[in-house]
């Protein structure tokens, strides 16, 4: 089979899974929907491998294959078909997405076992993966936008999965609306690029800009339309990938079931922005101004998210901010031309971040839905498997060799450093962020697993799982609705569920070993594989200086270990150091409040956008609209009519007479006028 046929199959399996779960929701017994969903994604993964093998059968310069099924919108100068583009980049993405998603589905079978919305959950989950696959396989801008928006819709559905909780529905609509802002950026960016290239086809537009023979394009860079287009694409990427200032939906998205967080953060959704920039590199390289915007925002995000991660106490939110920060690295990477490194990090991050969320899910299960770090502690003995997973994921995240995150993160920073000039600032920010990463990651581990076991941990050690008597929503205090469900009534714990352990074990292998496929000076699997996609790039694989390489490897190791040591000192060796630091350092408390309140981004957006628009709406509803609807503006007219015809008010027949009479009068009048004229 050809690579594109495999590509269509990659899409077909999740679609089939979605339809089976959606249409058969009354008939699927027990956990069968879970196996159907998992099987669908697993088959999709197999098809991805098929696509990989088929693609590698082609000569490197012929590894861009397009296939279309039917004409979608071909009219008045636009031409969009339902088409997919199978090339090394998209195959890399579908492999990562389907591989990690399969494991998340598997984990979910146990995690969501007792939930009343089990079938609905798997229908949504399959749809989510389908959307992401559509996004990365899309062969033209229109289909890319479709996949892009489907991802947003799927995330909405899953974030507000427990839709009787007002916090969940609010988080859902927030995520959706911010994602629509991103969609708007993507659509407008598409318009500008369309204006510049005259086509909606991805490859077509890349050829158009690289067609140096054409006088309109040539080698000119920073063409106004192209820069505008690329910056607007970045708006889309920022919204989807939770980059500042469009990131506020991501922490709230923790309202969804924990495996969903794992899916959003690891395999799908937030990586879409990284993919977008890498995919559009022929455009971005001709709009260096837009690249700089991407690099700076990525760097700012990685630093700011890291500081917020230091102060949060909700275990899932800490990991969420860590995702923001890591995506910041990737965005920065693909914006400075470190495409292979950025995508490499995307893959390793998918492994260890999925693992971390799964481990967090396990501990939340043991806590009966409680997510606050303040309430946790000492789970090391009660949850040994979870603890091991958490440490492996944490070491990979902190960039300790030889764990996977070490190689991928350092390669991004290495390429950034190679660019020289002001990129050195990004290099420094990157390593500063690495220090923060190690600190907040091990703060999390030490606070949850070390120290005195809390009551729940002791209970678990004795063999009982803690159950809350009257589950309440910690955010609002309302009693949880048992009809639709809420987080944590099932208490899925990895130690007690084989599917969870299998999923986490496989991811742990990835988190440990995935870095080994691309070791500087040793092997270049990712570089070589992706080269055909980036063949036209002048930034791909720059020559690296040995000195810088050595510096990076040493710096990365030392900073990672230093961060862990610092965390150990603050939260294990001398508990209480954190609060002491706060009061000792001048401005420490203010800084802490800034981090705790997430740099006040929510408040800022609330004050600048949400509240003014809401007030405008209320004003127009309660005051302004009266001018049109109430009898003030139309009052004069109505008054005249009322006075003239009492019958109008009485009965319907009055209207007809009145209407007919006026019609006749009007026609007569107009007719008379023109008769006089002729």
């Amino acid at each position: 089979m050809s690579a594109t046929t495999w590509g269509w199959l990659v899409l077909a399996f999740p679609l089939a899974g979605t339809l089976v779960s959606a249409l058969g929701f009354r008939r699927l017994p027990g956990r069968s929907a879970g196996w159907v969903g998992t099987g669908a994604i697993a088959l999709s993964f197999v098809a991805s491998i098929g696509a990989l093998i088929a693609l590698q059968g082609h000569a490197p310069e012929h590894r861009e294959l397009v296939s279309s099924l039917w004409s979608y919108a071909s009219s008045v100068g636009i031409d969009a078909k339902v088409s997919i583009l199978v090339d090394p980049l998209s195959v890399f993405m579908i492999l990562t997405v389907t591989g990690v998603s399969t494991l998340i589905h598997l984990y979910s079978i146990s995690y969501m076992e007792g939930d009343r919305g089990f079938v609905r959950y798997f229908a949504y989950l399959n749809f989510f993966v389908l959307s992401m696959l559509l996004l990365v396989l899309a062969g033209n801008f229109l289909l890319l936008i479709v996949g892009w928006a489907f991802v947003g819709a799927a995330s909405y559905l899953l974030i507000s999965f427990w839709y009787r909780r007002t916090t969940a529905t609010r988080a859902g609509i927030k995520a959706f609306v911010i994602n629509v802002v991103g969609d708007v950026g993507l659509v407008l960016g598409t318009y500008f690029i369309f204006k510049h290239t005259g086509t909606l086809d991805l490859l077509g537009s890349f050829h158009a800009v690289s067609n140096a023979a054409h006088p309109a394009f040539g080698h000119a860079t920073n063409d106004g339309d192209l820069v505008a287009g690329c910056v607007l694409l970045l708006v889309g990427a920022f919204a989807k990938s939770a980059q500042i200032p469009l990131h506020t939906w991501l922490p709230d998205a923790m309202e969804g079931p924990t495996p969903v967080s794992s899916l959003i953060h690891a395999a799908t959704m937030v990586t879409a922005g990284v993919y977008l920039i890498a995919r559009m590199h022929p455009l971005f390289e001709r709009a260096p101004a837009a690249q700089d915007v991407g690099a700076i925002v990525g760097a700012a995000t990685l630093l700011i998210a890291g500081t917020i991660g230091l102060a949060q106490t909700d275990i899932k939110r800490v990991i969420a901010y860590s995702t923001m920060s890591q995506i910041g690295y990737m965005i920065m990477g693909v914006s400075v031309g470190a495409y292979a490194a950025g995508l490499f990090h995307l893959m390793t991050h998918a492994f260890f971040k999925a693992l971390l969320f799964m481990a967090a899910g396990s501990i939340i299960g043991a806590m009966a839905g409680e997510q606050s770090l303040d309430r946790m502690g000492g789970f090391r003995r009660a949850l040994p498997f979870t603890y091991a997973s958490f440490v492996i994921g944490g070491l990979a995240l902190s960039g300790i060799p030889p764990f996977s995150g070490f190689f991928s993160k350092d390669e991004i920073l290495l390429v950034t450093g190679e660019r020289g000039g002001w990129h050195w600032a990004l290099y420094v920010v990157g390593y500063l962020g690495a220090l923060l990463t190690a600190i907040y990651t091990f703060r999390l581990i030490f606070r949850a697993f070390h120290g005195e076991p809390v009551a729940e941990a002791q209970e678990l050690e004795a063999g009982h799982v803690h159950h809350a008597e009257h589950p309440t929503n910690p955010a609002t205090g309302e009693v949880e609705d048992t009809d639709v469900g809420f987080p944590g009534p099932v208490h899925a714990i990895a130690e007690r569920a084989l599917p969870m352990r299998v999923a986490m074990g496989l991811l742990a292998v990835g988190a440990i070993g995935a870095g080994l496929i691309q070791i500087p000076k040793v092997d270049f699997v990712i570089d070589d594989f992706l080269r055909p996609t980036f063949a036209d790039s002048h930034l791909y694989e720059p020559h690296t200086r040995n000195g810088l390489l050595a510096l990076g490897l040493i710096l990365g190791t030392v900073i990672g270990l230093a961060g862990i040591a610092l965390a150990y000192r603050i939260w294990v060796a001398r508990p209480g150091t954190a609060s002491a630091l706060r009061s000792a350092v001048p401005g420490g408390r203010a800084l802490y409040r800034l981090f705790l309140n997430k740099w006040y981004f929510d408040e800022l957006i609330d004050a600048l956008v949400v509240r003014p628009v809401g007030m405008l709406g209320r004003f127009s509803r309660d005051s302004f609209e009266r001018l049109f609807v109430q009898d003030t503006l139309v009052g004069g007219t109505t008054g005249v009519v009322r006075a003239g015809s009492a019958a109008v008010r009485a009965a319907q027949s009055g209207f007809v007479r009145y209407y007919a009479a006026l019609l006749v009068l009007g026609v007569a009048g107009v007719g008379f006028y023109f008769l006089l004229q002729t």
């Binding site: 039917w70 004409s71 979608y72 919108a73 071909s74 009219s75 008045v76 100068g77 636009i78 031409d79 009343r116 609905r120 229109l142 936008i145 479709v146 928006a149 489907f150 819709a153 909405y156 507000s160 839709y163 009787r164 007002t166 529905t169 959706f176 609306v177 629509v180 708007v184 659509v187 407008l188 318009y191 204006k195 005259g198 054409h214 639709v484 809401g614 405008l616 709406g617 209320r618 127009s620 509803r621 609209e625 049109f628 609807v629 139309v634 007219t637 109505t638 009519v641 109008v648 319907q652 209207f655 007809v656 009145y658 209407y659 006026l662 009007g666 026609v667 107009v670 004229q677 002729t678």
Partner: protein, 559 residues
């Protein structure tokens, strides 16, 4: 295919038959139980018959041709040159299909309820369908005006006779406002139509004619064109409705029976937009260019004001109503982008909006029955658990309403905004605000009515089979259009381009020689055929390089 007159008059005939049958039986009121009445069944038969015919016309549509198809042309009033001329074109073929579909769904919905004087009610309902179909199919200006006015009459009766009083909004007040607004609009249009026929005959020579395609409106002076344009615009904008001419809408929407409102909102508002595309742009391209900015600003104001209102209202009907104001604003925006993309998007969006707003209103009716009759979203909530099928259908409709990419509505909006983007960049960018706000109001309605905690008076249950029979077919059409919007695009492309062609070249959006790449279509650049071939010599100040509307192939885009 049978002649178009059968399609048009079949519904009214069966409606009349129903009315006569109930007269014959002398039954003013039929029984206690809700259910089938003879007039209702006859009406449904008529609506389904019309739907079958309309599908036939879509299937039978000859794509390559720009000529009118299935033409009926009979001289009606010889002295005034008024023809009874009907024809199917790329502009109206899908609107006819939409009309037939929504009327069939609405009549089915109406059959599920008990009505006072069913004979009369269904007669009005069916007369309305005939009038709307006539307005879409009319190829004579005077005939169009006649149908346009005819279609208002049954609605007056249905609001006045079968409407509901809601608080301070009495059906009498609602009807009164509706009458005044639309009546003023109708009179203006009537005057404009007569002026068009008479004056263009006077200036251009020859005898009076109202047949579209024969009117030599290009002979009119630009001042005359301008005021005629404004008269037409007023009538159409009231109908849509557009801000600030929407004053009748809130009362009208609240008073109307929901089944009537389904077709009113779904179809009647499109007649106004269709009028712009089929009549105003081809006849008065100069004036359209002259007032382009004004119309774009009105469109923009409708989008923003409608959206802001839609997410502030708590009455579910008004959310739908104001969202229609916003959606029709997008359609106006596309039309007055005065280029092929905008107009093509507008036409697609007319169909799409009808397809989503009618089921949305029906859903509001279903919701109200589960919330103790209240249509206030504060009284609703939480029914999704017990009504999963209903919630899923509602979700699909909601996502289509907010024009989520993947829906046909998105393709329409994409083309509209692309057209506007090419015409007036700043206006297009501001209009994008409406895209974001649409997601707010559509999801707000969805979440507050089926998610969150269960409302105090709410009884949750899934939709009945009968309700499903109304909703599911329309949702299937929405899904089909989402997968294959090309179905509508390829049938309407040529007709749309013909319609905006002259205005597009006048507005200077695509002057000759400015295409960045000759020989390749960029930005829908119209590369007009040699102007020496132009058969129009009169009125060169407007139609300088214009081509006769019937032969647009040379100017066609995307060959």
């Amino acid at each position: 295919m049978p002649p178009l007159s059968i399609l048009i008059w079949l519904p009214a005939a069966l409606g009349l038959l129903g009315a006569l049958s109930s007269l014959a039986r002398g039954a003013r009121d039929t029984g206690e139980e809700a259910g089938w009445t003879l007039p209702g069944a006859l009406a449904l038969l008529g609506a389904l018959g019309a739907l079958g015919l309309a599908i036939g016309y879509i299937a039978d549509f000859h794509i390559g041709s720009t000529k009118l198809q299935h033409v009926t042309d009979v001289m009606w009033v010889k002295e005034l040159g008024i023809h009874y001329k009907l024809g199917v074109s790329g502009l109206n073929v899908f609107l006819v299909g939409l009309t037939a579909l929504l009327f069939a769904a609405a009549v089915l919905a109406a059959n599920l309820r008990r009505w006072q004087r069913p004979g009369l009610f269904f007669f009005h309902f069916m007369l309305a369908e005939s009038a709307v179909l006539g307005a879409f199919l009319a190829q004579d200006l005077a005939l169009f005006v006649a149908f346009f006015d005819l279609m208002l009459i049954p609605f007056y009766f249905m609001v006045g006779g079968w409407g509901a009083d809601r608080g301070e909004v009495t059906r009498v007040r609602a009807t009164l406002k509706f009458v005044i607004y639309t009546f003023v609009g109708s009179l203006l249009m009537l005057a404009a139509a007569i002026a068009t026929g008479v004056l263009s005959a006077q200036e251009g020579g020859g005898h009076i004619t109202f047949a579209l395609g024969e009117i030599r409106s290009s002979a009119l002076g630009s001042g005359t064109q301008d005021w005629i344009f404004l008269f037409f615009a007023a009538a159409f904008l009231v109908k849509m409705p557009a801000f600030p001419l929407h004053g009748w809408m809130p009362d009208g929407y609240r008073a109307m029976p929901i089944e009537v409102l389904m077709v009113f909102s779904g179809v009647l508002s499109k007649v106004g937009a269709y009028g712009f595309l089929a009549i105003v742009l081809p006849l008065f391209p100069g004036a359209a260019v002259h007032f382009q900015t004004l119309m774009l600003v009105i469109a923009l104001a409708s989008i923003l004001y409608g959206s802001v209102q839609a997410f502030s209202q708590t009455d579910a009907r008004l959310v739908a109503g104001y969202s229609s104001v916003a959606q029709l604003g997008f359609i106006t925006l596309g039309i007055f982008a005065l280029n092929g993309k905008g107009a093509q998007g507008a036409l697609l969006q007319m169909v799409n909006h009808g397809l989503v707003v009618a089921p949305l209103l029906f859903i509001i009716g279903v919701l109200a029955r589960r919330a103790d009759g209240s249509e206030d979203i504060r009284d609703m909530g939480g029914i999704a658990t017990r009504a999963p099928v209903f919630a899923s259908l509602f979700l699909i409709v909601s996502l289509a309403t907010l024009a989520m990419p993947g829906s046909s509505n998105f393709v329409g909006e994409f083309l509209i905004l692309l057209g506007a983007f090419q015409a007036k960049l700043a206006i297009a960018i501001i209009a994008f605000t409406g895209v974001v706000l649409a997601s707010v109001y559509a999801l707000r309605l969805f979440i507050r009515s089926v998610h969150n905690r269960v409302g105090a008076k709410v009884s949750s249950r899934d939709i009945s089979i009968a309700d499903g029979a109304v909703l599911v077919p329309v949702v299937l059409v929405i899904l089909f259009m989402a997968l294959y919007p090309q179905l509508a695009l390829k049938r309407s492309e040529k007709a749309v381009q013909t319609s905006v062609y002259v205005a597009a070249s006048d507005s200077g959006a695509h002057p000759e020689g400015q295409c960045p790449k000759p020989g390749r279509d960029v930005l829908g650049c119209l590369t007009p055929g040699p102007s020496s071939q132009s058969t129009q010599t009169a009125g060169t100040q407007v139609l300088g390089t214009g081509e006769p509307p019937e032969t647009p192939e040379e100017g066609a885009v995307g060959e």
